[in-house]
Amino acid sequence: MTIQQAFLKTILDESSKHSIAQLFIHKGTCGEATDIVSVCEELGIIELAMSLNAKIIETSCDGRCWAAPSVTAQKNNDRGASYSRRFDRIDLGVNLKELGEVLDLSTVHNVFDDGATGLTSRFGQLDGSLLAAVELGAYGVAEKVFQQDQKSILSKIEESKLSGRGGAHFPTGLKWKLAAQNEGPRYLVVNAEEGEPGVFKDRHLLEADPHRLIEGILICCYAVGVEKAFVYINGQAHKGIESFMTALEQARNSGITGPEFLPEKMTVDIEVRAGAGGYVCGEESVILNSIEGARPVPRFKPPFATDQGLWGMPTVINNVETLAAVTTLWQDFPPPTKLVSLSGNIARPGVYEVPADGTLSWNGFLLSVGAELETVPAILLGGPSGTFVHRDKFEEQIEMKNIGAGGIFVLSPNSSVKEITNSLAGYNERESCGECTPCREGTMRLTELLQQETVDLKKVEELIEVMEEASLCMLGGMAGRPVKSAIENFPATWISTER
């Protein structure tokens, strides 16, 4: 039996037990990059759906990038329930012998249960229409929240302890409050630049559930008193931009961003800006310069953006996921969650939703995402400004709030820590904007030092200290982190020399 036949047979078997109402074709960036269109043709999905009387829904990646190209069959009568449960998921790319394992794990989407009412609950479920999003709860929270006064919303955000999901974890409630107490006009900037290698959760959010972001934006604009919001999206995230623009158009046309839906006297204009590359463009003050039309370089802080941001006016700058998470705060379940992006030496790379305040051991976490622990020498947490976690520390409990923007790259036995470290140092050097000397010169000297046959570790340490202390922004400030952590965790990798 071929994999295709196995897939068809499973769907047909299941359909005799439960009636299949919908077939979801996952056509996001992940599906397209793995040729979902020709897979559907080969499988005869259209014919299959017709024979089962099922509706075909073209949708996004559901976070299970590992399964792409994939099709999900959904049984009837689940739509009315609080969450929809899938009973079938097959990776069309795996070997037949692996099929059993994949089937067993078919409902594992995140670490706890289905997490179905969390951030990813609508991933891979929507057909791109506003109606589908609203049916699954979009704008329901905003509607409720708009009945409350701004003060109680700000208190609620503060109580929730929601913190910035871009990696810096600044308390969101405090940020909103600081901006709200300043004289307007106030601005909101949504940081959707996500230019950190190893992190791809915001793109998934933009593609899979753009209305959740719009809802978060509207809540923020109401609570803080913002009339103009800019959404700054990574220029390479073509599908994300397209999906968000479509959703924004739908929201505008249906009156969601107008007086029909918004509280009295509230007006808001949302404008999309595409970035044009550069890791530094994810730094908040760089985005401000970029939107104003100036060179994309960081600003001195203070003044902070909540006092003097865009055009010198109070500005809230929030990450995509932070604003999306705002929409989950008014429900009893689940507890605040966050997204992590997993890649590398694991069976199931993709976007996972985990409890934001929880602790997990790396062992448990890695096993749950299909890693063969004995083949994992270390993980890299957070890309070019991240740190390595040696396998000796996998037993330790890790607080999820300490994993930065949530990029986790799992190393394989043949990974060279030295090569990875040098590659990250090279990336930081290329991406340095050149505005301040410690970063411009420091990243260059660091790369040079690391490429020596015998590395002067003392000099490396001193250089990193200068970069940490004196760089204008965190690109330079944190460029030495992976180097420092690689040397600490894998000292034998470097032949050091004492000065």
Partner: protein, 153 residues
């Protein structure tokens, strides 16, 4: 898209089309980056001619427009190769065998370049092919198959 060529017959028309579109943007400095994107959408890169009209429309000194353009890695100030493949060489793609794919691509005729991380790490290794399609979980065989397909074999 075929990159703008100032010596080509259609150069005048292409530039006029871009200019016409540029005038739809408000004449304010804040629209500099959208103007750059618009130029690349119409011309595929930022030739000198486009920088001149952007500076004039947005009323920003030419030197500042140029300086800002140089700061963004995705803005092209030189005429790009038409129809090139771009292999991602981010950490995840390197670990997933980017170098093997590069070796395979280099054996077939065509133009080829490398890019930094494209942020599709869960699909590593990835590449953008000569038609601008993103190819994920790429194998040497798929690279060869696409070349053969294009030749009509």
């Amino acid at each position: 898209m075929i990159p703008f060529d100032a010596t080509a017959d259609d150069a005048g028309d292409r530039l006029a089309n871009f200019e016409k579109q540029l005038l739809t943007l408000p004449s304010r400095k804040s629209y500099l980056l959208p103007a750059f994107h618009m130029a690349q959408q119409y011309l595929d890169w930022l030739p000198r001619e486009s920088i001149l009209v952007i500076a004039s429309h947005l009323r920003i000194p030419l030197s500042e427009v140029y300086a800002t353009a140089t700061a963004y890695s995705e803005l092209r100030l030189e005429k790009p190769e038409y129809g090139a493949w771009y292999m991602c060489t981010g950490v995840a793609c390197e670990a997933a065998g980017a170098q093997r794919i590069i070796a395979a691509i280099e054996t077939v005729p065509g133009k080829f370049g490398r890019t930094d991380c494209q942020f599709l790490c869960s699909l590593a290794p990835i590449c953008t092919d000569h038609r601008g399609r993103i190819l994920g979980r790429l194998t040497e065989n798929r690279v060869r198959a696409i070349f053969l397909e294009d030749r009509g074999d």
